[in-house]
């Protein structure tokens, strides 16, 4: 089992490194196309938005607690709070909601 674990971790490390390194190493010229440059600039927002929705709704023990956590994250982000306070406040909201929903024995 130890050998299996070690090999699988190696496989994961390799297929994680390749997409990170290849374009960075191989693309050595500035991209001329205005469309492609705009596309690459818009990419981060598009990726984060698509990663968050709808996955956020199934990231906790109930859709209700996830929804409340999401609203808390949106409100505090809008008010200008930083990454960590937003993450902690949102987690706290989820914890409280699930406590009300399921009680201690969850």
């Amino acid at each position: 089992m130890t050998v299996y674990y070690l090999l699988m971790v190696l496989v994961m490390a390799v297929v994680t490194y390749i997409p990170r390194a290849f374009p960075l190493a191989l693309c050595r010229k500035p991209i001329k196309s205005r469309f492609v440059r705009s596309f690459l600039e818009y990419m981060p927002i598009a990726v984060l938005a698509a990663m968050t929705f709808p996955a956020i709704f199934t990231s906790t023990a109930s859709v209700l607690s996830a929804s409340i956590g999401m609203v808390v994250a949106l409100v505090f982000s809008y008010l200008g709070f930083n990454l960590l306070p937003v993450a902690l406040l949102s987690s706290a909201a989820v914890f409280i909601t699930e406590f009300v929903q399921f009680g201690w024995h969850f």
Binding site: L7, M8, R28, A50, T52, F53, L83, L89, V94
Partner: protein, 237 residues
């Protein structure tokens, strides 16, 4: 004249400190979950040290628990990580001056959040990027170590509450941007609409979620670039 290496490194480190603090609870939650589902603690820590990514290693760890074959694990993790190719490509435009060996070393730091902050930095340098990714790496591995050790004793309620931390961080990154820029708001809403459609519409929902992510992101960014092309060398996002 250029600033010294260590000045650039520590500037980057300070710039990335919020991500370091933000990553720790996320990798903590990952480790609690992975140890809880049966992986040995040292495997969980090794995964975080060598992968340094959330979605991909979560998928890989799940498959390892199920004793999947190496090619299944390899293919799934690769598909989840395809988005890094787009990030790596856009970062290459800011690092054209760097030698190959430095690029190969720095490539380890390409994560969603580090990439995001790196793209916002004017005059990005290699040492700045090294500092920018060093803190989050320590936060990621440190959170994993604590999570792997706490995994056995932590109640499920806290593990569940931490499950949302990653997404809350994504929201905290995106909201300030879409407040400032209408095209960014448009791209964000389009990506959400596409992603939700791909997840729930009959037929489309058969597409594996890692592929839907790429389709939604590429579609939204392409539509944004077509409707709102940016002027000049620098972009606002």
């Amino acid at each position: 004249m250029k600033e010294s290496r260590s000045k650039r490194f520590w500037d980057g480190f300070r710039y990335g400190a919020p991500i370091m603090l933000g990553y720790a609870p996320v990798s903590f939650a990952f480790a609690v979950g992975a140890v809880g589902s049966g992986l040995p603690w040292w495997v969980v820590i090794l995964i975080s040290m060598t992968n340094f990514t959330s979605a991909g290693q979560q998928a890989g760890a799940g498959l390892m628990v199920a004793n999947s074959a190496w090619y299944e694990i390899g293919a799934t993790v690769f598909v989840v990580n395809i988005r890094y190719m787009l990030m790596s490509l856009s970062l290459s435009q800011r690092m054209l001056q760097l030698p190959l060996t430095k690029k190969l070393l720095l490539a380890n730091g390409v994560t969603d959040e580090i990439y995001y902050l790196a793209m916002k930095k004017d005059g990005l340098t290699g040492w700045f990027f090294a500092g920018l990714s060093a803190g989050p790496y320590l936060g990621w591995v440190g959170g994993t170590v604590l999570g792997a050790l706490a995994g056995a004793i932590l109640p499920a309620s806290i593990a569940s509450a931490l499950g949302i931390a990653l997404y809350a961080m994504f929201i905290a990154i995106v909201v300030p941007e879409i407040k400032k820029s209408h095209p960014a708001l448009f791209v964000c809403m389009t990506a959400i609409a596409l992603s939700v459609m791909l997840a729930y519409l009959p037929g489309l929902s058969l597409i594996p979620s890692s592929w839907s992510l790429i389709i939604a992101a590429v579609g939204a960014a392409a539509l944004g670039a077509w409707l709102f092309p940016m002027d000049g060398e620098e972009a606002a996002v």
